[in-house]
Each structure stands twice: as C-alpha cells, then as structure tokens.
C-alpha cells in the first residue's frame, strides 16, 4: 500500500477541504456562539498546523515509510473529526457571556480548543508528509496544494450560497475522506479506498437532525423560538450570514427601537429577520394603509422628515424595509433604497411580498443591491436626505462586540462622501444606539465635527443637530448652517415626542436632560466639549475611546481604553461588567493565546527535538565532539564534491542535503531523515544560526499576512463589496505568490537565492508602501468604473506585489536546506506560527496605528528578512551575498534544490473581515 506516484489529486482535494472547512467553521461558530469568540477558537485551532510540523519532524521516518497508509488515515481522520469536533464542541456547554462570572467557562473553552485542533492536525500531517515523501516533485505538489487552497476558499463561499453551513461542512469533511480514498486506490486493492468512500457517502447521507447546529440558548433566535407558536418561516444562507425569518403570532414582535414614551400607536404585525441567530430586524406588514405605520413618526430617525419638504431620500441599509416605509409615510418624494444582502431583499419582496407590501417596489422607490459606502461614492446623484439606518443590533452594540469589526460607514471620510452627495440644504441623518456611559452617539458626533472641519467649515456646531430618546440618538449634519425655522422644527419635534437635545445650535442647556434624564447631562456636556477648544483634553480624559474613525483606522466601534480596564474589572461584582467593551480584550487574549499555544505546540517540541538530536538551536552554536564525528560520517556519505572557494574567498562548506539512508548518522534513532549540516572550522560563520533562521522566518510569516490583510482592507473600499474584495484579493495573492514560488526555484538552482530575496524584498517594500500611501487617492476617480473593470485593475495592482512576495520563503527554505537541513522543519513551523499570530496582530496594529502603518511595518520586516537570509553572512547582514552553497551537476541534484517541502504546509491563517466572516489566507 505504498503510493508510487505523488497524489496530486488527493493533495488538491485535501487542501481544498481543509481551507473550506476553516471558513465553514468560522461561519458555524459565529452562528452557535458569537463572532469574536469564534475567531478566538479558530485562531488557536489553526495552530494544529504547527503541531503537525512537530509531529512529522519527530516521526518522519516511520511516517514516510508508510506514506499511503498514513495519508489515508490522516485524511480520513480529518473527514471524521471535522464533523465530530464541531458536534462535540457545541455540546461542551461553553457560555461566552458567563466567562468573567464563572471560571468553569475557561475550562470549557480549553476543551473546545482541544477538539477543534484535531482535524487541523490530521490534515496538516497528511499534507506535510506528502512533501516529505516526494521531495523531487515539490513544485508540482505545491501547485496542487495552492490550487486546492484557492479552490477551497472560493468553493466555501460558493457552498455557503447554496447550502446551510452544517450541510456544507459535511461536504467539506467528505472531501477529506475522498482525498484519503484516492491515495489508497490501487487496482486489485480497493477495499480501503472503497471503505473511505463509503464513509464519505455516509457523512453526506446522514440525517440532517444528526448534524444540526445547537446555538447558544442566549442567542435571540433561540430564545424567540421558545415562545409558543413561533416558527421559522424561511432560512437563507450566504457568506454574509444565515438569515432566519420568524413569525410569532401569539406574542407579536413589535420591534420599534427607541419608540417615544409618548407614542400611542404600536407597531403593526411583523416578521423578524435574524442574522446568524441574533440581532433581528423586522419586516412590517403593510397593506397600503399608512395609519398602521404611524409609529414610525415617533422614532428619533423621523426628525429629518420634519425639516425637509418632499425630499429625495437615500436610505442606506434598507433591510426589512421599515426605513423605506418611514420615508414614504413622512413625505419623501423618491426613495433610493440600498441593501447589501440580496437574500434579504428577496425575502421582503418575494417570499413575504404579500405581507410586506413589497416596499422596494412601491411608487417612488428605487432598489439598489450594493454596499452603502461604495454606492454613494460611485454615483454622482445628489439627495435631499441621506439616511443611514440603524444597521446593527442593540445587544451587540451594548456589549462592545463590534470592537474588532472594520466599518467604512462611520469614518470621517465616509461622512465627507455623504455630505458631497447632498443637495444644497440637504441633510445627512445617522441614527445610533444610546449606550451608557455615552459612547456611540458621542463618537458619531466627534466624527461629524472632524468631517465638517475637513471641509474647512470653521463653526461645525452651526451645522449639527443631535437628539436622543432613551434608546436611540439621531444626528443631523448639514453643509450649510441650520436656519432658525429648521431649529424651531427640531424643537417642536423633540417636545412633541419627549426627546432631549444632545446638541442644537443656540440651545438652552435645560433642553439636554428633561425627558430622558441621566444623573448628569453627559451627552450635552460631551457634545459641547467636542465643539470646544478643549476637545483633545476631553478625549484624553474620557474613559472610552471617542477619537473619530478614519478609513485607515476604520474601527468606529472600538471604544476600549486600557486606562479604564482596571477600574471596570474592579467593578465586576458591582454590575460593572456592562462597562466592558468586549471586542478588544478578546482580541488581545486571542493574540496572547496564539503566542503561548504557538510556542508550546510548535517551538517547544521542535526545540526539544533539536536538542535531542544534538543540534543546538542557539545561533552560532558550537559543535560537540560527537557531532563532529557524525558530521564527518555524513560527509563521507555525501554524494557531492565540495565546490572550490567562492569568488569572495569564503570557505565553502561541504556536503548536501542528505536523503534517508538506513544506519546513517543518528538516523538509527528514528527521528529524522534530514541531518544538520556540519559547520566546523572557518566556514562556521556561513552557517545560519538558529537565531538568524528564527528572525528570517518569523519576519516573513508576519510580513506576508500583514500585507495581505492590509490590502484586503484597502480593496474592500475600492471593490465596494466585502465578498468580492476578499475572494478576489485572496485568489490573486495565492495565484501570483504561487507563480513567484515557481520562479524562485530557478533562482535557487542558479545560485541566486540570496540576491533574489533581497531584490524581492526591495520590490515588496517599495510597492507595498507606495500602494498604501497612494491607493486611496488613485481609487477615488475610478470608483465609478464597472465592477469587472475594477476587478481587473485590482488584479493588475496585486500581481507584481504578490509575485515578489512568493519568493523569499521558498528561497530561504531551500538555502537553509542546503546549509542546515535539520532546521528546515523548525523554520517551517516558526513561519506558520508567525502567520497565525500575524492574522490577529494585524487587527491590533490597525486599531492603534492604521492599515498604512501595518504595511510600513510589513515592509520593514521584509527588509529585515533580506538582511538575515539564511545564506547571507550573519555578522555582516547587509554585506554581499554568499555564493551558492554548491552547484548542482545533474538534473536530479537540481530537482533537490527546488523549494523545500514545507512551502505551504503551515501557511494558512484566519483573516477577519468586516462583515463578520473569516476567510483563510494562504501565506508563506
């Protein structure tokens, strides 16, 4: 049962399976738990790749000898555990909401980590072993792997459009089993393959109830379904989330966030639309009679309609259609309704069209399926009113769960774009939840002040009005100062509905705290401070972060400040947990975990192995006598003759990358096929030390992911759609980096590895920084282009950068393979570990310094890598490159010098994207 030929198809399938599995896992845990905890769990699970590196290193010989069996077993185990891990994890009973109350929850979280790591460990073991078993075919294996990864990534997005996540997961698991079956398929010996195929078929045929997802009982959908006679009417799934439509005839929904206490009419019957089981919006029943919709005039968001006569309105985030009905009920002449999720529009217009009265096709309404910011930026039309709807749920806003999510809706630049699209005298209206102590509304106010100042308006206060009820606040922004008549209308609106003024030009401070009283008029005091010369002092002293978000730091929901954490935690037993903005601390905890678990799972076992096998990992390590003896034995066994001294007069080192020969060196211990290079004598300085290797591969692992994540963000604005942007940018990066890797094989073979890496690093640094600084300005005039043209342009921009980014890793690994082969798996694990850390680190860095800074750091890391190339001179990092270690003389020798096996074994990591859906980046 030994595979004679490399299993390209199996590798392709397994790679696709594992990548799609990770995307689906992220979706599933966002459904049954909450997004930020899902991110946390999967970041740790990914370290299973690192653990697989350790496993393969420690047991390389026995595993390679039984390649087909091990591959089939590992792929099969991946298939089975992929499903079992999810089913078991959701029965652990972890409750994220209780994590600070109940220490038992931490143990349960740990158990989930343990479960989820298993499938990744299995799949990575099979993939890594393939490269080890067929080192002569690495470029082709690599091509199969990277193409599989790209297919899996895009396939998962496709699957999510067609199937519910739990069903898609089964397909992903079955794919793993089929990969195992392919490896074992031999004429006359088909039993194992058929057994694996049968298991795959069984997975697909399992009754849906067996693999049904069990969401946390604290998610709103689960709670709603406990009410008598509630039922799910429809459920649709897409990469944007699972949308569940629910009716509750016995206890109607009556969703009217922030309805005035003075309202007398209740909302009409509604159907609730839950996204990922939480945070519902509603479809109102509309039968042509406007009286039933009159409650819409008692929301804070109704204010602009009392200042404008028959306006042309643009509703951003029209969702279930209530904002369309509000606009029409309150006199809008036309309504352009923009909604990102086509499935929501289908539910409203078709599935429940009779119930909803089809608001998107009412007279005067023009529907647009688009991302809100992109729609505004790419259209020239101006509107009397731009209404930004309340898009997120109160529960997530209140708990600070959006802290990590990038949003380009509420940045200074976004508000500037909206204002550019207003007619003279037009209004921008934005409604946010009232969070206490004041957060969202004050940050929005600060953002509007910054946007007005950016337009050169000297007195922003004259252009702003903000009112609040007990649950929502609405901001109005105008390019011209508000007129006295408009301000009178504001006052009349507030008084009639019992809303307070947060800010209104010329207001009496007594208006700030009359109807919805706080112990102090915190909102008014905040607004006046933000308009005063003391703004910076106020921002510094405020215990939540209110600094406006920008396109470079698009974290509107990031309110967390370290300075306040100690006080808030001290107040835990005193009801103070509600003050905690969860997103950021969870992110930092994720980073800390990735570092700790990464070190344990990858570095420690490998470090132990290196010590055990007599290869000290410290830089410039001295050889023990026994090693020198072993080295001499290895040299005797070498097939190649040493090269004469290189042109720079350095002492060339003898030897080669050794193949597995029984009884050779220390292989009798059954630890490794690959032994370290001898490094005694004057040539010792040319042998890369472990420290140098550590820096090089850590720098590359971090830098690749940082660049990739930063550019996904940059392209989201340009492509105006998160799914397009992530799919396209990832595929382009994968494809061209793969191409770059293939090109690098020639560089290495011709002894140009060090030089090639340095050139590539310079190209990357120059291109990345240039792009980071200029792309926003470059994109601005091109936003109106057709989507296909924008996509083509994006690929053209990414291609040279990704091509260069594909080179340093294989070149470095191949060079290391020549000089210290025993460090190759270690380098590979270090790189994979750094990629996982970088995926989290990118968000932390962007929150604090912005995505441009992330790119600049990545560029610096590439330059650092160039200076520590494991073939350069450690004592003269920027000195000339050393000559090639040896010159291959035969084609077989040249083949061996092609990029080392681990190119893509540990190269995946999670990337967080704004709409709460994670994809995998293949990195190097």
């Amino acid at each position: 049962m030994v595979a004679q030929r490399p299993p390209y198809a199996a590798i392709f399938l397994l790679s696709a399976a594992v990548l799609s599995y990770e995307i689906l896992l992220m979706r599933i845990f966002s459904l049954i738990q909450w997004h930020h905890f899902a991110y946390m769990m999967i970041s740790v699970a990914l370290l299973g790749y690192g653990a697989a590196g350790a496993l393969v290193t420690l047991a390389q010989k026995p595993l390679t000898a039984r390649f087909a069996r091990v591959f089939a077993t590992a792929a099969g185990l991946f298939g089975v555990t992929a499903l079992l891990a999810v089913l078991a994890a959701q029965r652990v009973g972890f409750n994220a909401l209780e994590i600070l109350w109940d220490p038992r929850q931490l143990g349960r979280l740990g158990l989930i980590y343990g479960l989820l790591i298993v499938p990744f460990l299995c799949a990575a073991t099979a993939l890594c072993l393939s490269f080890t078993r067929f080192p002569d075919q690495i470029p082709r294996l690599y091509a199969a792997d990277i193409l599989g990864a790209a297919t899996g990534g895009l396939g998962a997005i496709g699957l999510l459009l067609l199937l519910p996540p739990a069903t898609a997961l089964r397909a992903s698991a079955a794919l793993g089993l089929i990969a195992g079956a392919l490896v074992t398929w031999r004429p006359g010996r088909r039993a194992v393959a058929m057994a694996l195929g049968l298991v795959a078929g069984a997975l697909l045929a399992l009754p849906p109830a067996w693999t049904s997802l069990q969401p946390s009982p604290y998610k709103e959908l689960d709670q709603t379904l406990r009410i008598t006679r509630t039922r799910v009417l429809a459920e649709v799934s897409s990469p944007l989330g699972v949308v569940t439509a629910v009716e509750s005839p016995q206890v109607p929904f009556r969703h009217a966030p922030g309805l005035s206490l003075l309202a007398t009419r209740e909302p009409p019957p509604q159907i609730a639309l839950f996204t990922d089981g939480d945070g519902f919006t509603t479809i109102n029943r509309f039968d042509g009679h406007w009286a039933a919709q009159s409650y819409l005039d008692f929301l804070t968001s109704a204010l602009p309609y009392h200042l404008l006569q028959k306006p042309s309105a643009l509703v951003l985030g029209a969702g279930g259609g209530a904002d369309i009905l509000q606009a029409l009920a309150l006199g809008a002449r036309t309504v352009d309704a923009v909604e990102l999720n086509p499935q929501v529009v289908t539910l409203v217009q078709q599935t429940f069209g009779d119930f909803s009265g089809r608001p998107y096709s009412l007279p005067g309404v023009r529907p647009h399926l688009a991302e809100a910011r992109g729609f505004v930026a790419s259209h020239d039309q101006r509107f009397d009113l731009i209404q930004v709807a309340l898009l997120d749920a109160f529960s997530t806003a209140a708990a600070g769960l959006h802290g990590l999510a990038e949003t380009y809706l509420y940045t200074v630049e976004a508000l500037g774009t909206y204002l550019d699209h207003l007619t003279p005298g037009g209004l921008l209206a934005i409604t946010r939840w009232v969070t206490l102590p004041p957060r969202d509304p004050l940050k929005l106010f600060a953002t509007a002040v910054a946007a007005l100042e950016a337009r050169g308006i000297p007195d922003p206060g004259a252009h702003l009005v903000m009112i609040r009820g007990w649950k929502t606040a609405t901001l109005l922004v105008k390019t011209a100062p508000f007129t006295p008549a408009e301000l009178d209308a504001v006052t009349a609106f507030r008084e009639a509905r019992g809303f307070d003024a947060v800010w209104q030009p010329g207001m009496d401070p007594g208006w700030a705290n009359r109807f919805n009283r706080l112990d102090r008029p915190w909102f008014y005091e905040g607004a006046t401070a933000l308009l005063s010369a003391d703004r910076q002092d106020f921002l510094d002293r405020y215990k939540f972060r209110l600094t406006p978000a920008s396109d470079d730091q698009p974290y509107f929901f990031h309110f967390f400040r370290w300075e306040s954490l100690r006080e808030i935690l001290a107040l835990k037993a005193r009801g103070g947990l509600s003050l905690l903005e969860w997103g950021y601390p969870v992110l930092v905890a994720t980073l800390a975990q990735a570092l700790v678990f990464g070190a344990l799972l990858t570095l420690l076992p490998l470090g132990l192995f290196l010590r055990w096998s007599g290869v000290a990992p410290a830089p410039g390590d001295q050889r023990e006598g026994q090693n020198r003896d072993r080295d001499r034995a290895l040299e005797r066994a070498a097939n190649f003759q040493p090269e004469p001294a290189g042109p720079l007069g350095t002492q060339p080192l003898h030897g080669q990358r050794l193949r597995d020969e029984p009884g050779q060196g220390r292989q009798g211990q059954g630890l490794s096929q690959v032994q370290d290079r001898p490094a005694a004598g004057p040539g010792r300085g040319q042998v890369p030390g472990a420290g140098q290797v550590l820096i090089y591969f850590t720098a590359l692992g971090l830098a690749f992911m940082l660049v990739e994540i930063a550019f996904i963000q940059k392209f989201i604005l340009f492509l105006s759609h998160p799914v397009y942007a992530v799919s396209l940018v990832l595929t382009a990066f994968l494809f061209f980096a793969g191409l770059g890797s293939r090109l690098s094989a020639r560089m290495h073979a011709s002894g140009q590895g060090c030089r090639g890496t340095r050139r590539a690093a310079l190209v990357i640094a120059a291109l990345a920084v240039t792009y980071a600084v200029t792309l926003s300005a470059l994109f601005q005039p091109l936003l109106g282009l057709a989507t296909t043209a924008k996509m083509a342009l994006a690929v053209l921009i990414i291609a040279p950068l990704a091509l260069a980014m594909g080179m340093p890793f294989p070149l470095g690994l191949a060079s290391l393979g020549d000089r210290r082969p025993a460090l190759v798996p270690w380098a590979w694990a270090v790189n994979g570990f750094a990629s996982v850390v970088a995926a989290v680190l990118a968000t932390v860095l962007a929150i604090h310094w912005g995505f441009t800074a992330v790119v600049v750091l990545a560029a610096a890391l590439y330059l650092l890598a160039a200076a520590t190339f494991p073939g350069g001179m450690p004592d003269r990092p920027l000195g000339p490159c050393q000559p090639s270690y040896f010159t291959p003389k035969t084609s077989a020798q040249r083949d061996r010098l092609k990029p080392a096996p681990s190119v893509s074994c540990v190269t995946r990591s999670a990337v967080m994207v704004p709409w709460g859906f994670t994809v995998i980046c293949a990195s190097q």
Binding site: N95, L97, E98, W101, D102, P217, Y218, K219, D222, Q223, R226, I227, T228, Q250, V251, P252, R254, H255, A256, P257, G258, L259, L261, A263, T264, R265, E266, F394, S395, A398, A399, T435, L436, P437, W470, K471, G498, R514, F515, N516, R517, L518, D519, W522, F538, R541, Y542, K543, F544, E563, E567, I568, L571, A573, R574, G575, G576, L577, S578, L579
Partner: protein, 243 residues
C-alpha cells in the same frame, strides 16, 4: 429562672422558622452586606443613599437557592446572575434589590411584573406589596415558577403565561410595573396601565449584564418622563467627579 429557659427556647423557635436556619445563612448575610455596600457606593447614580429596610428584609426572607437549578445552588448567594435554563437568567441580587427599591414598594400597592423567569423577583415583591401579578412568555418556565411559588406559599401572587405587552388589563392600573424581559421600546399599553404617580422599571442590556436601568415615571397629572440609571459607580471622565 423560667425566664432564662424561655429566652433560648424562643430564639430556637424563631431560628427554626427563619430562613437563616438553613445552611446558606452565612452566605446570605454576606450577600446582604455586599448589597448594602453597593447601595451606598452607587448613591450618586441611583439617587438613593441606601435601600429601604423593607426591601433588604424582603431579600433576606426569600431563599434564592430555591429559585435556581440544582447545579447553580452553590452559587445562589453570590452577587451574580445565574442561568436558570430555557436561555434565561436570574438577575444579580444587587440589581433585583435596586429595581425593587426604585419602585418604592409599599404594603398597599399592586405591582405587575413582566417576565416571571424563575419567580425570584416576584417573590421579593410579594414580601413587600399587597398584590403581585406576573406574566411569563415561555410556557415551561412559567409553569415551573408557578409551582415553585405555590410551594413557597405566596397567596398574594398570581402568575400566568402569555404576552406581557398588553399588561394585565383587568388587574390594573398598577402602582408599579417591573419589566424584566428585553424590550425594544416601552409598550404604550403598559404606560397606560400605570397609575398617576406610578413607576415602571426596565433593565436594559444583555442577560448577564444590565447596562442600565430605565425608570419611567408618570406624574400625578399624567406626564411621562424617564431616567436612565447606571447600576454602577462610574464617572466617564477622569477627574470629572460629580459636582
């Protein structure tokens, strides 16, 4: 002589009847001390220097461990919310005390509760006012709570399963209404069922953390206003203490 015998005997009798006789008496005392301390700390936010003696006595009387599932009993007297099944929680005792105190309960009052849950808040109210009506939306939870409250013996407490949005029309108007269920808005029918001078309290936030309490007040002439009360001593500005 007989007097010396009588006093310990009387004390034994009182202790046997009191909830302090159970194994949780020490924990309960500590909890009550913690609640009293928190009330003092948050005086500026709540406008109440201390919770009324009657409210504190009611919390002492009601055995919280009888209102939580068995696996949560060891934590019953910790000042934290606890899961009670059906995706519901029993509120942090301090929040229960604060909400109860905010409605200024008096022995002659009629109070409506929306969201019976385990029945703990209803039991606390029943210790304080003449009549309590409580509505629960989740049927199994309502049935469990009704059985529990019946076993504990609260003749002045009525429960039912149903929609709390329209209140309990035939029993209203109410002196106070407590809404412990999530609400996107204050239901207009509930405001209508509030007597002039009445108070309505809603905790706003998620299950395991109340972000703030909304206190709706109806004046004698029918005017309605609200107060948002942070249940924690926290000033959003450093160096910006209360004047």
């Amino acid at each position: 002589m007989s007097r010396h015998f009588l006093l310990p005997a009387l004390l034994c009798l009182v202790m046997a009847q009191s909830p302090f006789a159970d194994e949780f008496s020490r924990q309960r005392e500590q909890l009550m001390t913690a609640i009293a301390d928190l009330a003092t700390e948050t005086a500026a936010e709540t406008g109440r220097p201390a919770f009324s003696a009657a409210v504190m006595a009611a919390l002492t009387q009601v055995p919280r461990h009888r209102f939580v599932p068995l696996d949560q009993v060891p934590y019953a007297y910790e000042n934290r919310p606890l899961a009670i099944g059906h995706g519901q929680t029993i509120s942090q005792p301090y929040i229960v005390a604060l909400m109860t105190d905010l409605i200024d309960p008096r022995p002659d009052q009629t109070v409506l509760e929306i969201g019976t849950g385990s029945g703990y808040q209803a039991a606390v109210l029943a210790e304080l006012v003449a009549q309590v009506y409580s509505i629960e939306i989740i049927a199994p939870l309502a049935e469990e709570a009704a059985a529990r409250l019946k076993a504990l013996g609260y003749p002045n407490l009525q429960t039912r399963v149903g929609d709390g949005y329209y209140g309990w029309e035939e029993a209203g108007p109410f002196d106070a209404i407590l809404v412990t269920a999530a609400a996107s808005h204050v239901p207009p029918p509930l405001i209508r069922q509030l007597k002039p001078g009445g108070r309505l309290v809603i905790p706003v936030g998620t299950h395991f953390m109340a972000q703030y309490l909304l206190l709706v007040e109806k004046t004698a002439d029918g005017q309605v206003s609200s107060r948002q009360i942070l249940p924690v001593s926290f000033v959003p500005l450093t160096g910006g203490g209360k004047d």
